[in-house]
C-alpha cells in the first residue's frame, strides 16, 4: 500500500501497473491506515451519525478509529476528542458528519493533520438549489484543491470496501466479491448491497459519491477499470461532469470488464429529481441507450434488474445459445414462463420425439406435460424419477441451458409449496460438477406466513450454493436475455 500523502500519479491508471500488482491511483481512498469520524453525536444513540461507528464495529475495522466532537466524552468505550487537532495519532481518512456550513473549515483542519481524503456525508449543498449553498460547495471543493485533500461527496454515503473493512452500514456483508459499484446515490448503493447480498452477490468496492465536488464518476470508473479485485462494474449515474472523459473511461472499462449501467433521470420528472438530488445534468435517453449498445454495456432500468443481471453474470455459466428447456411445476405456469422467455427472444424448442419417448418410459401421462416446457408437477415429489427426467433433458443436444421453475403460491396445500419441492428441485444440481448444461432456477415465492419459514431456508441453501436464483419468470428471462445479448454483440464485434 502506498503510504505517501502525495496525490496519486495520473499515469498510474494503466493495466501494466495492475499487472505488476501495484496499488495505484485512488487506492489510498479504499485502504486508509486510520479513520476519524468527525461530528458524531454524543447524546443520541439513534442519531444517523452513529451509523458509521456501528458500521465500523460490525465490519471489524482493525486500525485506529477516532471519534471527534467538541463536546468530548465517550461512545461505546471509544474516547471522543474535542477536535481533530487533539487526536494523538496520524489520520488518513476523515468521515465528515458535520453541518454543511462547517465543512470547508474542517478541510483546513484536516490539512494540519496530514489527512489524505475527506468524505462528507453531510447534505445541504448544491442539491438544494440555494445559491448560498451552491457557493458553500464551491468553497468546499476549493479547500480540497488548496490543501491537496481529495473530497468524496458531499451528500453521499462514501465507501464500502469489505477487504479493508470500510463500511457505511452495520448490515452489510463482511465478505468481499468481484462486483464494483459506483453510485451517485447513497440509498441506491445501500439497496444494491443489501438486496444483492440476499441474492449471493458480494462487492469489491462500493462508492456512493453524491454531488462529486472533487472525486467524480470519471475518477472512480478509471480506478475500477484497473482494479484487479473488480470483475464487474455497476454504475448508477444521474449526470456526468465531463462527457468526453466519461465516454473514454467507459470504453476502457467495458473493454476489460463487464459494465452494467443504470442511468437515472431519463424523463423530465426524473431529471428534475436528479437536479434536486445531486445537482447533475441528466442527458437524453436515446444518447445513453446508443452509448451502451456501442460500447457493449448492459443497460438496465431498475435496481432489481441490475441485481438480476449480476446474478446471471456471477452464477449462470454463459449458455452457448438461446435454446432453453423449461422444467418445472404447473400447467398455467408453463404457459406463462414460455411466453416470458419467447417474448424476450429466448427459444423454447419442442423436445425431440426421442427425448419424449425416453421420458414416457417412466413418467405417467396424467398430470405431467412432456413437451417443452415440461410440467413435472405430479412426479416432483419422487426425487429419483425427477432426477432421471432432469438428466435426460439437460443432456439433450437441442438445448443450451435448463431453467427449472416453481411458483410456490400456486399450490393448494402449504406443505406442497414449502421446503420439500424447493429442496427437490435444488438438490439435482447443488454440489454437482458434472452438469451438462447451465441451470437457472426461478422461484416465484408466496409470502404466506406459514410458508415463509419452509421456503426461505430452501431458497437460501440454493443461493449459498451459488446457484442463479430468480424470483419471477419475467425477471429471469429479461436478465438472461440481457447477458446473452451483450455476449452476442461482443462476439460479433470480435
Amino acid at each position: 500500500m502506498n503510504s505517501s500523502y502525495d496525490s496519486p500519479p495520473a499515469d498510474c491508471l494503466h493495466s501494466a501497473c495492475v499487472e505488476r500488482g501495484e496499488r495505484h491511483g485512488l487506492d489510498f481512498l479504499f485502504h486508509p491506515e486510520s479513520v476519524a469520524l468527525v461530528g458524531i453525536t454524543t447524546s443520541n444513540p439513534l442519531h444517523w451519525t452513529r451509523t458509521f461507528l456501528d458500521a465500523f464495529i460490525e465490519s471489524g475495522f482493525d486500525r485506529p478509529l477516532y471519534l471527534v466532537n467538541p463536546k468530548g466524552g465517550e461512545i461505546k468505550g471509544h474516547k471522543v476528542y474535542p477536535s481533530l487537532r487533539e487526536v494523538p495519532g496520524s489520520i488518513d481518512h476523515v468521515i465528515g458528519l458535520v453541518n454543511a456550513r462547517t465543512a470547508p473549515r474542517l478541510v483546513e483542519e484536516c490539512a494540519e493533520k496530514g489527512v489524505r481524503a475527506a468524505h462528507f456525508c453531510t447534505s445541504g449543498f448544491s442539491e438544494t438549489g440555494d445559491p448560498d449553498r451552491i457557493r458553500l460547495e464551491s468553497e468546499l471543493a476549493e479547500a480540497g484543491r488548496r490543501t491537496g485533500i481529495r473530497i468524496i461527496g458531499p451528500n453521499c454515503m462514501g465507501i464500502y470496501c469489505p477487504q479493508s473493512r470500510l463500511s457505511f452500514s452495520p448490515v452489510l456483508p463482511r465478505e468481499s466479491g468481484p462486483v464494483g459499484l459506483i453510485s451517485q446515490s447513497g440509498g441506491n448503493s445501500v439497496y444494491l448491497v443489501r438486496q444483492g447480498a440476499l441474492r449471493g452477490i458480494r462487492f469489491s468496492k462500493v462508492i456512493s459519491y453524491g454531488n462529486a465536488c472533487d472525486i467524480n464518476e470519471n475518477d472512480l470508473l478509471e480506478y475500477l477499470a484497473g482494479d484487479p479485485e473488480t470483475r464487474i462494474i455497476c454504475l448508477y449515474i444521474e449526470g456526468i461532469k465531463d462527457g468526453k472523459r466519461f465516454r473514454k473511461a467507459l470504453e476502457k472499462a467495458a473493454r476489460d470488464k463487464t459494465v452494467i449501467l443504470l442511468k437515472g433521470g431519463l424523463t423530465e420528472g426524473g431529471a428534475r429529481a436528479v437536479a434536486g438530488h445531486t445537482a447533475a445534468l441528466a442527458g437524453s435517453r436515446s444518447t445513453w441507450e446508443a452509448l451502451c449498445r456501442q460500447l457493449g454495456i448492459i443497460s438496465v432500468h431498475s435496481l432489481d434488474e441490475m441485481i438480476d443481471v449480476l446474478v446471471t453474470l456471477l452464477f449462470l455459466p454463459l449458455p452457448g445459445g438461446r435454446n432453453a428447456v423449461l422444467f418445472g411445476a404447473g400447467g398455467g405456469a408453463s404457459v406463462l414462463i414460455a411466453d416470458e422467455f419467447e417474448t424476450r427472444g429466448l427459444q423454447v424448442p419442442a423436445l425431440s420425439p426421442d427425448v419424449i419417448a425416453r421420458l414416457q418410459e417412466f413418467t405417467p401421462a396424467a398430470g405431467n406435460i412432456l413437451r417443452n416446457p415440461i410440467d413435472y408437477s405430479q412426479n416432483m415429489l419422487d426425487a429419483e424419477r425427477t432426477r432421471k427426467a432432469f438428466d435426460i433433458v439437460s443432456k439433450w443436444e437441442g438445448t443450451d441451458f435448463v431453467v427449472t421453475f416453481i411458483r410456490t403460491g400456486q399450490f393448494v396445500l402449504p406443505w406442497l409449496s414449502g421446503a420439500r419441492i424447493n429442496m427437490l428441485l435444488g438438490r439435482f444440481w447443488i454440489d454437482r460438477d458434472d452438469l451438462p448444461k447451465p441451470v437457472a432456477m426461478v422461484i416465484e415465492p408466496s409470502v404466506l406466513p406459514q410458508e415463509a419459514e419452509a421456503i426461505l431456508p430452501a431458497i437460501n441453501e440454493c443461493i449459498s450454493s451459488r446457484l442463479p436464483v430468480y424470483y419471477s419468470f419475467g425477471a429471469a428471462a429479461n436478465a438472461i436475455d440481457l447477458v446473452l445479448s451483450q455476449a452476442e454483440r461482443r462476439a460479433a464485434a470480435d
Copy 2:
C-alpha cells in the same frame, strides 16, 4: 335458489333477470345443496385428493358433504361410502377425484343420483396429446350431454365461491369480494386468489375450468357478466372454442363491468405449452391486443400485473388525470420512481413556487428535496411535520393523485426501514375520509430477516385499511397507467 334439476333456461342470462334479483343460468354450479367427493383416498392423508376435504372443512361448508371410495371406512369423522349409489341423501354436485378412465362411468352413476354438475379434477385427457385419451374426453363430454349433467373440466380445480363455501384449497379466504375469475389453469387461479388475498383482494366466484369439455369460457363469461356479486371479471384464457360467441360475451361483459384479460400462449413456446396443458388453440398476439383495445379491456401479461391492476381498481379512487406528486424517502429512489412514472406516460409536474415556499417555511433545506418528487427523508420521523407537508402537497391543484414511496432496503439501519417509517407513512391517510386526492403507497420491501417482522405488520395494517399498496415503483406506475388508460378510452368512446 333454483332447486329444479332442469338445465337452466338460456334466456335467463339477461340483466333484467339480474335486476329482479333472480338466480339464473349457471347459479346452480355455485350454490349446490350437497356435495360428494368421489375418489378421495382413504389411506394417505397427504394425498392430493384430501385437499378438497380440508378445503371444505376450512371454508365451513354447512350443507351435506359425502365422501365416496370403494374401500369405505372413515376420514376425519366422515363416513366413506363405497359408491355414489349408497349415499343416503340426494347429491347436487360431484367432485370427481377418480382415475381418468373411470370418469365417463361416474357420470352415468351421477345420473342415477340426480346430480346436476360434476367437476373432474382428474387429468390425463386430451392435454396429453394421446389419441386414446382424447377419445376418453369425448366420451366424458358425451356422457354429460346424454345425462344432462353439466361437466366442469376435466383437468382443473373447479370452483371457489366463498359465499356458498365451495373451495378447492384450505388456504383461501372465507370472505367474499367483488372480483370474479375465470381461469383455464388451476395453478394460476390458486396463485391469484392466494397472492391476491395478501394484497387485500377478495373474490366472488373463481372457476378453474381446464379442458372445458362441456362448460367453457363462454358459459362462464356470460354468467359472470350477469352476476350481481361480480364487479370486476378477470380472465386467464389459453384458448377459445368459439371465437364469435366469445367476442360477443366479452363485449357484453366489458360494457357492464371492468374486464382484465391475461392471454396465455401468445408465443410459439407458450402455445405449445397451451396445447399440452388444456389442448386449446392459442391465437396470435396482435389479434388479442386489438380485441382488448377495441372492447375497453385491460390486457395484462402476468399474474402479478393482474393483481396490481386489481389493487388499483379496488383501492385507488380513480384519479382525475395523470399528474402525480411523488412524496417519499430517498434521493436515488426519487429519481427512479419519477423515471418509472413518466416512462409510462404519468406526469410528475414541478411543484408551484407557492407550494415550495409553504413547505420551506417548516422544512430544513438539508436532506430534503422540495421539488417533485419530494424526498422527505430527513423529516419522516417527525410525524407532525410530515403530515403538514403531505397535506399541503395533496391539496395542491396541480396534482391529481399522490404516491408515497419508501424503499425499506435502502436504509443503513434496520430500525429505520422497519415499522416506524411505514407506520408514519401510512398513518396520514389510514381512517381519513377527508383526503383531498387519491393516495397510493409504494413499499419496496427488503426481505432481510431482521426487518420482515417490523415491516410486514405495518404493510398489513395498510392493506387491511384498504389502501392501495404496491411493491415496486414500476409495478405501481404500470398498474395506475393501465387503469387510467382504460378509463380514458371509455370516456373517449362515450
